[in-house]
């Protein structure tokens, strides 16, 4: 019911929206909750467990009851607080967790079974018969549980993430926050003022008191206008600071699009990382309910919420309102209602010394002990010394006192302090480094107190920041003392709710204590109190108090409330903005990428890189056909392959050779200029880390290559050795991976191809195997390495990357002229397996040089990384699984990677496991399947037949153990 003359909304701006398909009209600036209340709608949701009918409890983000789904399509948003959602033209809100409708919810039957569904009932049953849990009980429970539903479709909205930096972050724009921002802003500090509400002003928007000579809301407007005008102040509206992190970092969620009918492609939300040198928490306080029988009926809400609806939105949530409280603040609600012309049927104050009023009846020393009404409040029962009395009312405003909004100060696991005088927890000083609390969140509830503390906190922060605070006069305002006599739960029969959403009642807490869940953490976990979407904002303190009472301890003895980030829930899409699709990781493309795509090559991921899998030729229908052709092409003619993705590190300086000797297991001191050597690198724990070739380009200059996968790891490792272990060595490392486009030219016609391309042909006798040097390629200075990963006579030719694409096209064209062409990763893999050359399938992080048959590469003449621990007995044990070749010898010809190896007659059980297959390929060169694998005592078992079993693929193959080099074991082709 809208009240004439009340509220801050413009009555000339109506907005039409829908709730559960029914069209309503509200005003611009309404929340869904205020607009529904204005339309007389009280029933907005159902509780989680008992599906009890519920209306709003609050007027803010802490709302536990009125959760709705916004929208109906793929991008619908479940679990939105009606108290936060601003209405806009076309808003389509739907209630949730009910069937078939909000008014008639069949799961409301749960409520009748409540005696059997108390705290922890599910731990005690659903166990018989055992199979029924997964088949019957659990599916039923799961279907009934949950609140709203995701659409199941990919989130199509745009989200944003950003960083911000400031001197001072002020969290909350109520009287304390505004005052703090004003003082710091005038001092010239860079200030960010963030507030979760669409409109700044905090509690001033909901109260009628004056600040200085004017209404509080006017004062707030003036301060905001000044802050807007300051270039050093940034106002962030609709922005919830959700958590503090280390060294002054805060996470904050800015809601950009939820209130807009059309977003025009702009972001829905932005997740901010705000880095602040100092911060002030001015988050206000949240009012808490009082537990009494059936205190969860629609129409029962906090007294402060009633004032908010009345004073800010111009709505009375009822026609005959009653107020129930244990503190003076509750009286303010009754006064405001009367001032607005709303009938106040009575104020029930549990204190015998409560103030009297001539505006409304005051029931001193009385308590509300029950409520009645169908889907909404119709009357309450009042108990006093005089007995019980029933009062007709459609709205009960309850105030059990206020809890400071100290949540952020608990996020770093510091417990708050209990203050007996206000019956509430307050932040522990220093709970978040650099942050101080001011105003209501610090337990100071009067407006004047908030203004004073805000100013003082800003002055202290400015002093820390080395700035001078300007003289700012703190305006006068209401400075009433806060008087409260705690009342947590009204004694009596029936169920009295503590945690509304999760349906946790006083009885549940008592039962938990009876079952010895007396630690507050046990009680919470056993009853689920505090586990709902509000994290117990409205229930934690009362539940703790009930537990304290029933266990005969004081509240501080019993424990404290704890909270974890985020302050209010944040969408996964906002925290992970940009992560979907290709945004998850950078894409690295070689210079031949486009040319490979031109040829129809499917690309596969190699780390962050893309590499061509194979190059289909006309008529080829499977990858195997292409791969086999490419392998034959390299063996018989010449093939071209982009190998630019391998890491390349330029190592220069007088101690460059020393470094290589230290990081490689084998010696590099003797490597001549113009020559290349294969090197093996261990981790310090003795296992193989990486391998690759290193070329000596000049007296004090080497070029190390790493595998594609380990490029970053190796660079970091070399930096560690040079900075952390041997900073005295004069050696410099520069990554040049990106500078060079490098192509393998492999096959019998490789030299012929190059000689047609190089400005000076390669002379016979020059460029032996493992030679390197500078060449001129069609006028471009390049580098040539005579190395081979295919076992063929081969080179790698490198040019500056700008020429990469042109050179690749040129090389391929010339190769095709010689009966060859490009080859991809599939063929490269076959070629190397035929030669028994290892990759990270074999260097899998658990293999040693001994396992790989490279034990002789461990120099005995020098120290090197990994040397000592590689000599541990376990790493040299004779029965280790060591590298072998495998070829099929039985009827089944297939060998599969990942299969395990057993003695031919053994059962394929763990106890008999002797090894595994690391790499397999069909060798077109040999005409059969070949494989590399690791077999216990493998090198001693050449010629033995073993059994390969792949349970997962259903393959069992008898294999002969052979040496791991299948083709040209003497290496004549590569050297020739």
């Amino acid at each position: 019911m809208r009240i004439a003359g009340k509220g801050l909304l413009d009555r000339s701006k109506p907005v039409a929206f829908r709730f559960d398909g029914v069209r309503y009209e509200g005003l611009e600036g309404d929340t869904l909750a205020s607009a529904l209340l204005a339309n007389g709608v009280r029933l907005m949701g159902r509780s989680f467990k008992y599906h009890r009918p519920r209306g709003v409890l609050s007027a803010g983000s802490e709302e536990p009851n009125a959760l709705v789904t916004i929208g109906r399509g793929a991008d619908r948003i479940p679990n939105t607080r009606a108290t936060v959602q601003e209405i806009f033209s076309g808003l389509d809100a739907v209630s949730q967790n009910r069937w078939p409708s909000l008014a008639v919810d069949l799961l409301g039957l749960n409520d009748l079974a409540a005696p059997f569904l108390g705290a922890g009932f599910y731990y005690k049953t659903f166990m018989w018969p055992a199979a029924f849990w997964e088949k019957l009980y659990e599916p039923a429970i799961r279907r009934a549980a949950g609140l709203g539903a995701l659409s199941g479709q990919a989130d199509g909205d745009v989200y944003d993430r950003a960083y911000a930096f400031c001197d001072l972050l002020v969290i909350g724009a109520g009287p304390a926050g505004l005052m703090a921002a004003l003082v710091a802003g005038r001092a010239g500090a860079d200030v960010i003022l963030a507030d979760e509400d669409a409109r700044m002003g905090g509690r001033l928007l909901s109260e009628t008191g004056a600040v200085g000579e004017e209404a509080g809301v006017s004062w707030a407007g003036e301060v905001l206008a000044e802050l807007e005008s300051l270039p050093n102040v940034r106002l962030m509206r609709r922005t919830t600071v959700v958590g503090p992190y280390d060294q002054g970092t805060f996470g904050a969620l800015e809601r950009l699009g939820h209130h807009l009918p059309h977003r025009g492609g702009g972001p829905l939300e932005c997740f901010w990382r705000i880095v602040a040198r100092r911060s002030i928490l001015a988050a206000g306080a949240l009012e808490r309910p009082i537990a009494f029988r059936d205190n969860d009926r629609p129409g029962i809400m906090t007294a402060g919420a009633v004032r908010s609806y009345l004073n800010r939105w111009g709505v009375s949530p009822g026609r005959a309102v009653t107020v129930f409280g244990n503190n003076d603040d509750a009286h303010r609600t009754a006064r405001d209602l009367v001032d607005a012309g709303v009938h106040v049927a009575g104020l029930i104050d549990s204190r015998h010394d409560a103030p009297q009023s001539d505006l409304f009846p005051v029931y001193r020393g009385a308590q509300v002990c029950g409520s009645a009404g169908r889907r909404g409040l119709e009357n309450i029962t009042i108990r006093s010394i005089a007995g019980e009395d029933r009062l007709q009312t459609d709205c009960l405003a309850v105030s059990g006192g206020w809890n400071p909004s100290l949540h952020l100060t608990c996020h770093m696991n510091t417990r708050p302090h209990w203050r007996e005088d206000i019956a509430a927890f307050v932040p522990a000083p220093g709970a978040v480094p650099g942050l101080s609390a001011a105003g209501a969140c610090n337990g100071t509830f009067s407006t004047a107190g908030c203004l004073r503390e805000g100013a003082a906190a800003a002055r202290a922060a400015l002093e820390d920041l080395g700035r001078t605070a300007p003289p700012v006069v703190v305006p006068e305002a209401e400075d009433d003392p806060y008087r409260i006599t705690p009342l947590w739960a009204v004694a009596g029969r029936g169920r009295a709710w503590l945690d509304f959403q999760n349906d946790v009642t006083v009885k549940d807490v008592k039962q938990a204590a009876a079952e010895n869940f007396r630690s507050v953490e046990h009680m919470k976990r056993y009853t689920t109190q505090g586990m709902a979407t509000d994290q117990g904002k409205s229930s934690n303190v009362a539940a703790l108090a009930v537990l304290a009472d029933v266990t005969g301890r004081s509240i501080p003895e019993t424990g404290a409330t704890g909270f974890r980030p985020p302050y209010s829930p944040v969408a996964i899409a906002a925290l992970g903005a940009g992560g979907s699709g290709k945004g998850f990781a950078p894409e690295r493309q070689t210079t031949s990428h486009a040319a490979s795509l031109d040829r129809g090559a499917p690309m596969i991921e190699a780390g962050l890189w893309y590499r061509p899998s194979f190059f289909p030729a006309p008529g080829e229908k499977t990858w195997r056909q292409s791969c086999d052709r490419e392998v034959r092409m390299v063996r018989e003619a010449v093939g071209i392959c982009d190998v630019s993705t391998l890491g390349k590190i330029d190592i220069q300086g007088p101690d460059a050779a020393r470094l290589l000797d230290f990081v490689y297991t084998n010696g590099f001191g003797s490597l001549q200029v113009g020559r290349v050597r294969y090197g093996l690198m261990l981790r310090e724990d003795g296992y193989v880390m990486d391998d690759g070739t290193t070329a000596r380009l000049a007296d004090q200059q080497y070029l190390m290559t790493t595998t594609t996968a380990a490029a970053g790891d190796v660079m970091r490792h070399l930096e560690f050795v040079t900075q952390g272990l041997h900073p005295d060595w004069d050696v410099r490392l520069i990554s040049v991976t990106e500078q060079w486009a490098q192509f393998a030219v492999a096959g019998p016609w490789a030299r012929a191809l190059l000689n047609g391309l190089l400005d000076a042909p390669l002379a016979d006798g020059d460029w032996p195997f493992m030679a390197c040097g500078e060449v001129s390629v069609m006028g471009v200075a390049g580098r040539l390495f005579r190395i081979s990963f295919s076992g063929e006579h081969a080179y790698e030719l490198a040019v500056p990357a700008r020429y990469g694409e042109a050179l690749f096209r040129e090389l391929v064209a010339r190769a095709e002229g010689l009966g060859g062409g490009p080859y991809g990763m599939e063929a490269l893999n076959v070629l190397r397996i035929e030669k028994g050359l290892i990759t990270h399938a074999e260097i899998d992080g658990r293999t040693t040089a001994f396992d790989l048959g490279l034990g002789r590469m461990l120099s005995s003449k020098k120290d090197f990384i990994g040397k000592t621990l590689a000599q541990r007995p376990g790493l040299l044990a004779a029965d280790r699984q060591r590298l072998v070749g495998l070829k099929p010898v039985g009827a089944v010809k297939l060998i599969t990677a990942g299969a395990h190896l057993f003695a031919a007659e053994a059962e394929p059980l763990r106890a008999n496991d002797q090894g595994w297959v690391s790499s397999t390929a069909f060798s077109p060169t040999l005409g059969h399947q070949i494989a590399l694998g690791f077999l216990s005592r493998g090198p001693e078992r050449l010629g033995e037949v073993v059994k390969m079993v792949d349970h997962l693929r259903g393959v069992e193959t008898l294999c002969e153990v052979v040496a791991p080099v299948f083709f040209d074991p003497e290496g004549g082709r590569a050297r020739g």
């Binding site: 972001p267 990781a585 210079t591 990106e738 069609m778």
Partner: protein, 181 residues
């Protein structure tokens, strides 16, 4: 004989303007990594001054001379752009040609700072990060070098192979900044 055609990292993909920001590919000419040997930094500074008119940059600073720029590029490393490094420097420092290793773009416009605030986890406000300032950090998930050229202009370098992702990330951030008007 045919020539090998050169192709720049962002060829054909720029310029791009969204809202109050524009990205263009920047042609920096030769680029050389310079890493002084132990104890040779003073000699190197002198040789740089003689050859290129620039000293050795302090961390997070870039120096500009006639057509050349020397950008601090990390621990004991700088990047010389705009001129081929004088071979005399080789005595004092490890040099490596990087002319083709980096994609270089310029982000210009009133919104440039807001765009970068979406990508770079460092305080880039004008008062903190003034023209001439440079840094090594990340842009999105990519390693990057960032230099402020003027009040609203930044030079951005990322690995050449990541040019496509750079442009994707910049475009997304420019759209987000523009959506706020």
């Amino acid at each position: 004989m045919a020539e090998l055609t050169a192709k720049s990292p962002c060829a054909g993909r720029l310029p791009l303007t969204i809202g109050a920001a524009t990205v263009t590919e920047e042609t920096l000419g030769p680029m050389t990594s310079i890493a002084p040997y132990r104890g040779r930094q003073a000699d190197l500074a002198a040789a740089l001054a003689a050859a290129h008119g620039l000293g050795w940059p302090q961390p997070n600073r870039s120096l500009t001379g006639a057509g050349v720029r020397l950008i601090w590029f990390g621990r004991d490393q700088a990047l010389l752009t705009g001129a081929v490094a004088d071979p005399a420097l080789e005595d004092m420092a490890a040099l490596a040609d990087q002319s083709d290793a980096w994609a270089a773009v310029r982000l210009q416009g009133e919104a440039a700072e807001a765009v970068l605030a979406r990508l770079v986890p460092v305080d880039l406000r004008r008062a903190v990060f003034a023209p001439g300032a440079t840094l090594r950090s990340q842009l999105g998930h990519m390693p990057a070098s960032l230099t402020r050229l003027d009040d609203h202009g930044f030079l951005i370098l990322v690995y050449r192979s990541m040019a496509g992702t750079l442009l994707h990330d910049l475009k997304t951030a420019m759209e987000a900044a523009a959506a706020r008007g």
